[in-house]
């Protein structure tokens, strides 16, 4: 179809181009001479259009046509005209000006008149080029050199100054002319085309579709199409019914063009375009496929309701199937679509899982290097990683290792998304092998300058080192302890960093062959003062709880006793114990009097019973050293220990008995304990079902009996022997090590030992998008018996890490082999918490 040109015919549009270096006429106007063939309009420029000498219409048209292009597309300048010369007057002025410039010594030498004439000539010849370059740069030949007339770099020439405004004017004129033409054309043509598209003859439909496709490429006609709901509907129908490739291709191409505008998207959506497009996702033809996916992507991004429509049309399964293709840009779009569809929608995530999505996504991460694709894929995995059904699938497909591959990438957004995903997955990945590279990268990332990166790295390390010996050893070997101490030091009061870091250190300092090395390393890095300092405000309870556990582990190393003492750990621990103990007492009394709090004394999601247990446990280990014992005695806390012997919770009884056992090693201690009336409860505890409790109770009683008369000792020995040995005559192995050697002799206990206490609970960092609520595990169930516990489950109440333990899973004689872990008794039945129905946490803006 013909297009009108945009030739700026000055006579009609009054554009005044001031040639470079020329001065304006006194009246401010300059003339731009028409081609020489035409009659010159005026020598000195127009003063006003009325002055324009009248030409007959033919001549006007002739003039017009001089500058009219001949061909059919695009915009032409007067490219076919000759450079119009200026009137002689201007030439004179040019010459004068140049001479004037020369006289000012602008250039090195003064110019002769011939030289000036020469230069002028050159300038004239290239003037039209300069003007053309300013107004119609797209018509220039590539690489054409146009001499610049700019003498002073600070001063743009007149043409340069006018370049931009004349460009804008040119565009405005183009648009106007186009629009008018196209809009007219389209308005007349569209009803016709609609009829043709609805024709029964496929050839007709095909031709009509091609026409529409061509129309859709131009902006004005595109708008006309979009605004016609019937047209879009006809297109969609033609698409659905098409059985020939070319029709399909042009139709979906037209829809694709429409999808760049809001009205277009709305029109496509309303005409039921989405099911038709989703069907095309099975097409074997690449161009069709690319058009379809891009159009769907635009719809998903900008058109409300598209997500539901795509889901209902079965788009998810098809998109997952498309992940097997190998065009990276295409894959980037597909993965972005998946991310949009899966975000916040549990059902979509499950469909992706069922279609083998996780495997494909992990494969993509491993195979490609195009950053955008890696980023979009990591975002899909991030969205899937909060779904408890997808998590194991991703981990099993090697997701952790694949994500680890990109932790050293330059792109911060990619690294951050990988870290978030890893953190979400990490509590499901505690039994995975080949994590060495990941752990090494994470330790390295602890030194990053970006807070988010450090936070995530600490959280992931905390989870991965939980109950996994192999990982603990690896992290220690790559300098994890040192890095974590440095991280804690640098983090200051930022609990989102210190808490996971402290938990990770706690994991590293116990229950693996290199634990002692780790305990020493923490001291050697001057970590102890910093760590003990975290027991004080403004630390919140979750952090305090974690620090208590870490201190307990550090105290296992005798070289740490002095530094811990010197940092004031003991008084602070006692202070915390007293506070927590009082809270539990208050809670208990309020329950007893019919209060409504049946969940327990909570603060920041931490139960005060856990603090009690933790502090007493730490004091128990610290009390191995005599100076520490003296301090503990002086703090008047023994009464509380004795009170705790009456506690319902077996673990608390055990640690209380344990610390008393240590304290009783000194005569003063033993006396103080006896004065507090500990004998009675201890005697009771001899019959406890918990062997650890019984053993410690026996030990304390024995030590307290040092000064007693001989027959007392004999009776005691019999009593203890009876209590501690079971019917089958074998002593339960656990806690023998904690039984003081003297008592062992006293009751003739056999060999073997095993420290069951203070194992880590389930991994503490729960899934989430941003900094989650850390609940450090402080369970007392050893690793082997963890099968019965659901990692990260909500059983046992919020904040609790005491999951349901199946007694059959535990080794016989195990202290927790009794099903009534006491915490469960205090918790009312929970509403069903099926993880699959839980949405990821999100906010809504209102």
């Amino acid at each position: 179809m013909l297009r009108r040109s945009v030739c700026v015919c000055v006579g009609y549009l009054d554009i005044y181009i001031i040639p470079p270096g020329s001065e304006a006429n006194p009246d401010g106007s300059m003339s731009y001479q028409m081609p020489q063939q035409a009659r010159p309009l005026s020598q000195s420029g127009y003063h006003n259009p009325a002055d324009m000498p009248l030409q007959n219409p033919k001549e006007q048209i002739a003039m017009w046509q001089q500058n009219t292009y001949m061909s059919d597309s695009g915009i032409h300048s007067g490219a076919t005209t000759n450079a119009p010369s200026l009137s002689g007057k201007e030439e004179e002025m040019d010459a004068e000006w140049l001479e004037g410039q020369a006289q000012q010594g602008f250039n090195q030498a003064a110019f002769t008149t011939e030289q000036v004439d020469d230069m002028n000539q050159q300038l004239n010849q290239t003037r039209s080029q300069r003007v053309r370059a300013a107004m119609f740069p797209e018509t220039l030949d590539e690489g054409m050199e146009i001499p610049s007339t700019q003498f002073d770099p600070q001063q743009p020439t007149a043409v340069q100054r006018l370049a931009e405004p004349s460009q804008m004017l040119k565009h405005a004129v183009v648009n106007l002319i186009n629009y008018q033409d196209d809009a007219d054309l389209a308005t007349r043509a569209i009803p016709e085309l609609i009829k043709l598209l609805n024709d029964e003859d496929q050839v007709v439909v095909s031709q009509a579709a091609m026409m529409v496709h061509r129309l859709s490429k131009k902006e004005a006609s595109r708008h006309a199409i979009m605004n016609s709901q019937q047209m879009v509907a006809a297109l969609v129908r033609a698409l659905s019914n098409s059985n020939d490739l070319e029709t399909t291709r042009v139709t979906v191409g037209a829809l694709h063009n429409l999808s760049h505008h809001r009205q277009g998207l709305l029109a496509i959506f309303k005409s039921g375009g989405i099911p038709a497009l989703v069907k095309l996702l099975s097409s074997p033809v690449e161009s069709v496929l690319f058009y379809a996916i891009t159009t769907l992507h635009n719809l998903l991004l900008h058109q409300e309701g598209s997500k539901t429509a795509v889901r209902m049309a079965g788009g998810l399964q098809k998109m997952v199937a498309l992940l097997q293709r190998n065009n990276v840009k295409f894959l980037a779009i597909v993965t972005d679509c998946l991310q949009i569809l899966a975000y916040g929608n549990q059902e979509s995530k499950l469909i992706i899982l069922a279609s083998q999505g996780p495997q494909e996504l992990v494969r993509i991460l491993r195979s490609y290097t195009y950053e955008k694709l890696l980023w979009t894929t990591s975002r899909v995995l991030k969205v899937l990683s909060v779904c408890s059904s997808n998590k194991p699938a991703i981990v099993e497909s090697g997701g952790m290792q694949a994500l680890a591959m990109h932790l050293t990438h330059q792109s911060t957004r990619l690294v951050q998304n990988c870290l978030w995903t890893l953190r979400n997955l990490s509590d499901a990945a505690t039994k995975v092998d080949n994590m060495d590279q990941l752990l090494q990268n994470l330790v390295h990332l602890l030194r990053a300058s970006d807070i988010n990166v450090v936070t995530c790295a600490a959280g992931i390390l905390s989870n991965l080192t939980c109950n996994n010996q192999r990982n603990k050893i690896t992290v220690c070997q790559v300098g994890g302890v040192e890095a974590l101490v440095a991280t804690i030091y640098n983090a200051g009061e930022r609990e989102e960093i210190t808490e996971p870091a402290v938990c990770a250190l706690r994991h590293l300092t116990a229950r693996h062959p290199d634990a002692e090395v780790a305990q020493n390393a923490a001291r050697l890095k001057n970590g102890i003062p910093v760590i003990v300092n975290l027991l004080h405000p403004p630390s919140r309870w979750p952090l305090v709880k974690a620090v208590i556990g870490l201190i307990r582990n550090l105290a296992l190393c005798t070289a740490n006793h002095a530094p811990l003492r010197e940092s004031g750990a003991i008084p602070r621990l006692v202070q915390l114990l007293i506070r927590a103990f009082q809270d539990t007492q208050r809670q208990r009394s309020s329950v007893a009097s019919g209060g409504s709090g049946s969940i327990g004394a909570y603060a920041d999601g931490v139960r005060m019973e856990e603090i009690v247990e933790g502090t007493v446990g730490a004091l128990h280990i610290l009390a191995r050293e005599s100076h520490n014992r003296a301090i503990i005695r002086g703090l008047n806390v023994i009464p509380i220990f004795v009170q705790l012997l009456y506690n319902d919770i077996e673990n608390i009884e055990r640690v209380a008995a344990g610390v008393l056992c240590e304290l009783a090693a000194d005569k003063e201690g033993a006396e103080m304990i006896e004065q507090e009336g500990a004998t009675a409860p201890l005697t009771e505890l001899l019959h406890s079902r918990n062997e650890g409790v019984a053993t410690y109770a026996a030990a304390v009683l024995f030590r307290m009996s040092e000064d007693k008369p001989q027959d007392y000792k004999k009776r005691l020995s019999m009593e203890l022997t009876n209590s501690l040995f079971r019917e089958d005559g074998s002593m339960w192995q656990a806690d023998i090590a904690t039984m003081p050697p003297d008592l062992q002799d006293f009751i003739g206990a056999p060999e073997g030992h095993y420290d069951p206490m203070y194992a880590q609970g389930p991994p503490s960092v729960h899934s989430g998008h941003a900094g989650p609520n850390y609940q450090g595990g402080y369970d007392h169930v050893p690793v082997d018996s963890m099968q019965g516990l659901e990692i990260g489950s909500q059983h046992g109440g919020p904040g609790s890490n005491y999951g349901p333990v199946d007694p059959r899973d535990l080794p016989p004689g195990h202290p927790a082999a009794r099903p009534d872990l006491a915490f469960d008794q205090q918790i009312p039945p929970q509403p069903p918490r099926d993880n699959n129905q839980m949405a990821a946490w999100y906010d809504t803006d209102l």
Binding site: S596, I599, G768, H769, A770, P772, P828, A839, T844
Partner: protein
């Protein structure tokens, strides 16, 4: 005072102090020219959400205000971040799904809220 309002088990009885807040939504015109009423805050939570995954560290399934836009109707009305919304226009918000909470809030142009606030209504 107990801390039970922030560790509340949906469905159980609870009695606590609360702050009444009246929020009159702000009318604005959106890009399509339609009238839109904005409150100026964000909510998170609900019985179908997992509060353990909340970045703010909430301890129960209530509806919490997670953000208040400065200068908005919510800010003017006195709503603060981390306030727990107990009731809205008479609807009980201690046992609602997230979506229901959003629907109730969007329903009326004026919101009569009862909120619990740590350190004020509870220690």
């Amino acid at each position: 005072m107990s801390t039970t309002a922030f560790s509340h088990e949906p469905g159980t009885a609870m009695e606590c102090l609360s702050i009444p807040i009246t929020l009159e939504k702000e009318g604005t015109i959106d890009i399509h020219g339609r009238q839109v009423l904005k409150c100026g805050f964000k909510i998170g939570g609900g019985i179908d959400q997992d509060f353990m995954k909340s970045p703010q560290g909430y301890t129960d399934n209530g509806i919490y205000c997670t953000e208040v836009h400065p200068g908005s109707a919510a800010a003017r009305a006195g709503l603060r971040v981390h306030d727990k919304i107990l009731q809205c226009n008479g609807y009980d918000f201690t046992m609602v799904t997230h979506k229901k909470a959003v629907d109730y809030i969007k329903k009326h142009p004026v919101l009569n809220l009862l909120v619990a606030r740590k350190g004020v209504t509870h220690s």
